[in-house]
Structures are given as structure tokens and as C-alpha cells.
Symmetry: C2
Subunit: 243 residues, 2 copies
């Protein structure tokens, strides 16, 4: 039996979802951050994750296109700037490409998306469609995985630098810039969701939106694990590591 | 019989469409700029045109959401900034509301959209849907009415200031800021269209897109003329001038 929650209870419930379902808990991340991946596995991760990065501003533009509220559009516009940058060499996508460059992947190959696992494509596109098709409140709530990302990013930065000789601080520039943006964005989205989810039905929808988004990120790691860790069954056409 | 055109021929054809179909030629604009409108008619124009202004960033966000190209997204993002501003009192929509304020319209009423003519709503929404549903090239081409806007804006600014004692330079701030933005935007879009329309089919689609957009603007003035000039048949529920 569900009842109407206070704002504090909404936040507690969202954080509980993160504690149970955020992809920080995925076995692939334990391998990645713990230095247990081969270079080929790290490449596969960065290559597949590139598609997620590349689609984020498209997802955010869809969200902006659904906002009647100028202020909300202006605030969300910052995310476009964070990801696309103010110039070609700036922004989150450009920094992610520094990572794939640093890992020795050919940039044209990465950007072509030819090496993606199909499950990566489906998961990322499910996220974009969710933001186009659900309510604006659910679309905003689905961004709330950012609440949990500063922690995973600091683990990743530390673990990858310590454990992989093929990874440099310069290569990991993406992860240095990202946490303050994620904090700012998730604080806004959290406050928005708490203020606007005022019925049992919308509160449940908000929780489902965050669970859905956790599923998206989790499914991407499941696909990587299946293809590149165990049982190492790479989908036809997907990236095959050379080492 | 249609043949493949050079870039110069494409531009000439686009300018020819503007010369024949841009709403500068509409009888309502002759009345408006020539000082022949009543205050109520000017109010009706500003009120209805507000919806077009308000939907432009939504249209542009849809367009950004369709771009795979980061550079194109960055360039188009400037339009979001122009219309939504960097703060609540800035940007094209805020300046349009200074116009409706200056004309004595209640701001809540304007923003509520309750007074719109249905045909205004349908025309504006047809434009947003066009940008969502047609090719990216056609979506970009549909913005090319901006090629012709600096001229109409200077006529409007001069004509309205000279002819209406209820209009001040401050009220018309929108039109002072707009021409350099329109020049920058239309130069980019024109170059894009000339470079990317490389088949007979896409060239024809580009011309049709500009004709469509001219139709949108023209239909908005037809609706105003019908309701407020002749035969003065105001749709049920739409704005009724008090003077």
C-alpha cells in the first residue's frame, strides 16, 4: 500500500534506489576500477560508453523541447553546453574522445559507432525515447542517477590511475570535470522532482523513472560483461580487442 | 522539368520565393506598418505573434535533438540563448513581452495563450511539427525566412514609431536586437542548405520547406486580418479588443 510521501521521504526513497540499483554495484565496475580489466576490456567499455555520452545532449535537447518554462529551459541548456562545449575541443564528448584516443582506439572508428554492442545501442536509445515519451517530470527524474555519479567517478579516477599503466591523468580529464557539473545538475533535478511530485501516482512514476535509468546503465554493463568478460561472446560485428 | 541547380541558383531561387511569398507582402503588414491599425488590432497582432515567439526555442530544441553533429548543435544553441536569454528579463521572448506590456495587454493573459486565434495555434504548431518530422535539411531550410526579416523589421520599427502614439522605442526593443541575430542565423542556414542540397530531390525539398514556412507566417496574418480587420469575425474565445 503506497501513501503520499513528504519531500524528505521522496529523497530518501530515491537515494535508496541508487544504493540498490546504481551501476556502481555492477561486477564489471568492480573489475574496471579494481585493475582487473585487460586493456581490451577497458577499450570496449570506453567505446560503448561513448555512445551514451554522444546521445546525452540529444536527450537533453528533447527535454528542453518539452519545457514551456523558459527558466527551466535555460537551466537545462547548461547541460548542452557541458556536453557539446563552447568549441570543438571542449565539452564532455570531446573529453570522452580524449579517453578513447588515450586508450589507443581509432577516433573515426569510435565515432562511427560501428563497434557498438547492439545492447548498448538499445539501452541508450531506450533512454532517449523515455525522455521524449514520458511526462516531463519523469524525464527529469530519469536524470537523477547523477546524484550517485560523483562517488563512482572518484573511485574510477583513483582506481584506473593506480591500476592501469595505459591510463594517464590527461586521458581521464572527463572524470575531473564532471563531478561539479553532476552535483549542480542533480541538486536542481532533485529539488524539481521533490517539488513537483505531489501525488502518489507521480511519486511512484518518479521512482520508476530512476529505476528505469538505473536499468539502462546496468544493461550496458551486462552487455559488456557478457561480450568481453564472461562468457566472452562478442556480438557479430562488435569491437574485437586485439589485446 | 527540374534540373540540378548550382549553389548560386539555389540562393537565387530561395530569394525569389521570399520576394513572392514572405509575409512582408501581406495586407495586414501594410496596415500595421503604415499606421492604419487601431490599438486593438496592434494588440491582437502582438498577442498572437507571442505564441510564435514562445515556441521558437522549442522548435530549435527539436532541431538540436535531431543533430548528430556537435558543431551544428553548438551553432544552433545560440538561437536558444537569443530567445530564452541568459536571465529571466533577457532574450527575445522577454523582449516580446515588453511589447505586449507596452501595448497595455495583461501579461498573464498573454502568456496563458487563452486569447489566441485557433489558426495562430495551428500554424505555429505546424511549424514545430515540420521541424520534428521532416529531414534535418528541410528543418534548417524552414528557418530561412530569417533571410528576409531584417528588412521587414526596419520597416516595422520605423513605421510603428512614426505612426502610433501608443508605441515607444522601449516597447520595440525586440526589433532593435533581432536583425543582427537574424543575419548571422540566416547566413549560416543558407550556407548549410546550399552545401547540403546536392540532388534535385533535396533542392526541391528545400524550396518547399521555405514555401511552407512562408505559408505559416502568411496564415497567421490571414487569421488576424479575418478576425480583426475584415470581416472582423473573431473566433469564439479569442481576444476581443476594447478599443
Amino acid at each position: 500500500m503506497t501513501s503520499l510521501l513528504t519531500e524528505a521521504e521522496i529523497e530518501a526513497r530515491l537515494r535508496e534506489i541508487g544504493a540498490r540499483r546504481y551501476h556502481r554495484l555492477h561486477p564489471f565496475h568492480h573489475l574496471l576500477h579494481g585493475g582487473k580489466c585487460t586493456k581490451g576490456q577497458v577499450q570496449a567499455w570506453a567505446l560503448n560508453r561513448y555512445y551514451y555520452q554522444a546521445m546525452i545532449p540529444i536527450k537533453d535537447a528533447h527535454l528542453i523541447a518539452r519545457c514551456d518554462d523558459r527558466q527551466l529551459r535555460r537551466i537545462w541548456r547548461e547541460r548542452l553546453i557541458d556536453h557539446d562545449g563552447r568549441a570543438e575541443q571542449e565539452g564532455g564528448i570531446a573529453r570522452w574522445l580524449k579517453l578513447t584516443d588515450g586508450l589507443g582506439l581509432d577516433r573515426d572508428y569510435v565515432v562511427s559507432l560501428r563497434g557498438l554492442l547492439p545492447a548498448t545501442r538499445f539501452a541508450v536509445e531506450a533512454y532517449v525515447h523515455f525522455v521524449q515519451e514520458k511526462t516531463l517530470l519523469e524525464a527529469i527524474a530519469s536524470s537523477l542517477t547523477e546524484l550517485f555519479s560523483p562517488e563512482i567517478i572518484s573511485e574510477r579516477l583513483e582506481g584506473m590511475l593506480k591500476n592501469y599503466d595505459f591510463v594517464s591523468a590527461n586521458t581521464l580529464a572527463y572524470f575531473v570535470n564532471r563531478p561539479p557539473q553532476a552535483d549542480r545538475d542533480s541538486n536542481f533535478a532533485l529539488a524539481y522532482v521533490k517539488r513537483h511530485a505531489r501525488t502518489v501516482q507521480t511519486q511512484q512514476a518518479v521512482f520508476a523513472a530512476l529505476e528505469f535509468k538505473c536499468d539502462v546503465l546496468w544493461a550496458m554493463l551486462d552487455a559488456l560483461h557478457h561480450a568481453y568478460v564472461s562468457p566472452k561472446q562478442i556480438s557479430p560485428g562488435a569491437f574485437v580487442p586485439s589485446e
